[in-house]
Amino acid sequence: MSVQRSTVIFAWILLLPALFYVTVIVAYPLVDTFILSFTDASLKKTTKWVGWINYEKIFNATFAEVIIRTFVWTFFSVSIKMIIGVFGASMLNAAVPGRALFRVLTTPPWIVPMAIGIFMWGWMYNGQFGMISGVLQRVGFADGPIAFLAQGSTAFWATIITDVWIGVPLVTLYMLAAMQSIPQDLYEAAWTDGAGRFYRFRRITLPLLIPSLITMSMLSLIATFNSFDIIWILTRGGPSGETTTMIIDTYRTAIGSNKYGEGAARAVLICIFLSIFCLAYFRVTSRLSSGENR
C-alpha cells in the first residue's frame, strides 16, 4: 500500500513541472480570454465589465461572412491535403528504387520555417513577374498577367494552396506510416486469391486506413482552422477582407486595433468551434473502436 502511494507521489512529482508550465502559459490565458471577452479592455488604464456587448457586436453582418469563409477555407484546405497526402503516401509506399530519397524530399515544406515557404509562394503568385502567371501565359491559358493575390477569388484559392503545400508533408508521412503498419500477409493472401492491385488498395488499404485518416483529418482540421502565418504574410486578410478568416479577424481586432475585449470574444468563439470538433472526433473514434471490439 505504501509502496503504491509513494509511486503515485513520485509520478506527480515528475508531472508537476510540465503541468505548472502549461497551467501558467496556456490554461490561465484561456481563462483570462474568457473573462476579457466580457470587458472593454483596450490600451486604456481602466477596464469595465460590459456583459454580452462584445458578443452582440460580433454578430453583425460581416462576421457571419467571416465564419462561413473560415469553414469553406478550412474544408477545402483539409480535403485537398488529405487527398494529396494519401496519394503521395501510396506512391511512396510502392517498393520502387529511390523511395528512401523520395521520402526525404517530401519533408522540406514542413521543416523549413513557414515564413520562408510563404515568401516563395508570394513571389510565384506575383502577377507581373511571377512564375505561375508567367507559365499560364506562355502555355496560353491566360491572356494577360494574373495578379493572384490582388483579386478576392484567386487570393482565396492561392492561400489555400499554400496552406496545403505546408501541410501535405506531415499528412503524407503519417499516412505512409499507417500504410506500412498494415500486415503484409493480408496483401499476399489477397494476391494468392488473384486480387488485382487496385482491388487490394480499395479493399485492404483503404478500410484499414480509416482510423488514421480520421485522426489525421482531425489534427489537420485543428491546425488549418488556426492557420495564421500564411494568410497574414500573403494577403493580411485582403483584398477587401476576402481572405479574412476568424484567426486573422481576431488578430486584427485585438493586436491591430488594440480592442482586447472584442478580440477575446472572437477568440472564445474559435475555442468553442475547436471544442465541438474535438467532441465530434472523440464520438467518432469511440464508435469506431467499439465497433472493432464487437
Partner: protein, 285 residues
Amino acid sequence: MSQPLMVNRYRWYELIGIYAGILAFLTFILAPFVEGFLVSLKPLSQLFSSPYRFIPQNGSFEAYRTMWVSVPGFARYIFNSFFISTIVTAVVLMLVVPAAYAFARFKFRGSGHLLGAFLAVNMFSGAVLLIPLFRLMRSFGVLNTYFAIIVPGVAFLIPSAIWLLRTYMMRIPRELDEAAFVDGASHFYTLRRVILPIAMPGITVVAITTFIGSYAQQFIYALTFNSKTEYAPLPVGLFAYFGRQEVIWNELMAASFVGIAPAMIVIFFLQRYLVSGLTAGAVKQ
C-alpha cells in the same frame, strides 16, 4: 526491409505510373524551392521584366554577397533563431522527459484525463491566446526580450513532445524498472540510470522535432511580443528585405536559403532518426 515479394513485383506500365505519380507529387512539393533558388541567382533587373523566364540569363551568386551588405544584421537573425530554438528545446526536454516517463509507466487516478488535457493544448494555437499572453508577458516584464519568444514557444511544443516520448518509453520493457526496483534502487535512480540511457534515441528524436518546430514557428510570437530588431528571429528578420518601394526578391531568396542551410544540414544528417521516430510515435501500437 524484407526482400521484394512476388506480390510487390510491378509490371512495366505500373512502374511508369508510380514514377509519374511520384514526379507529379514531388514537383508540387519542390517547385517553390527550385523557383526560389533560381530567383536568388537572377539579377533584380531580370526579375522585374516581362515576359517571365524560368532559367536565369547570366545568373550569378551575386545576391548571396550583397544580402549581407543590404541587411547587415542578418547574421544576428540566424543566430537569434538558433539561440531561441536551442533554449526552447532544452526547456522542453527538461519538462517533458519526466512527464513522459510518468505517463508511460504509472497509472494513477486521473492520469488518462491529464494526458488528454496536455494534448488539448495542441488545440489552441498561440493565435487564440495572444491577447492574454501579451498581458502576461507584459506583467512578467519580458516583452521585447528573447524570453517573449521562448516562453510561449515552449508551451505549445510540450504536448506533441510528451506524446512522442511516452510512446517510445512504453516500449521499454517494464522488467527493467522492476529489476532495478527489486535491487533496491529508488525511483529517481531507476529513471536516471536505467530508463534515460535506454530512452536516449527517443529523446534525440523529440529533441530534433522540437528544434524544428521551434525553428519553424517563431513567427507569430516574434511578430507580436518583440519589436526590437536585435532579438528578431529569422522569419521576422527576413522582412528587412521588404524595402519601402519594392521587395529585393533575389536577396530575400538568397537570405532564405542561407538561413535554412544550417537547419537543413542538421536534418540531413539526422533524418534517419527523424522519420523512424516519427512513424513510431505516429502509429498506435
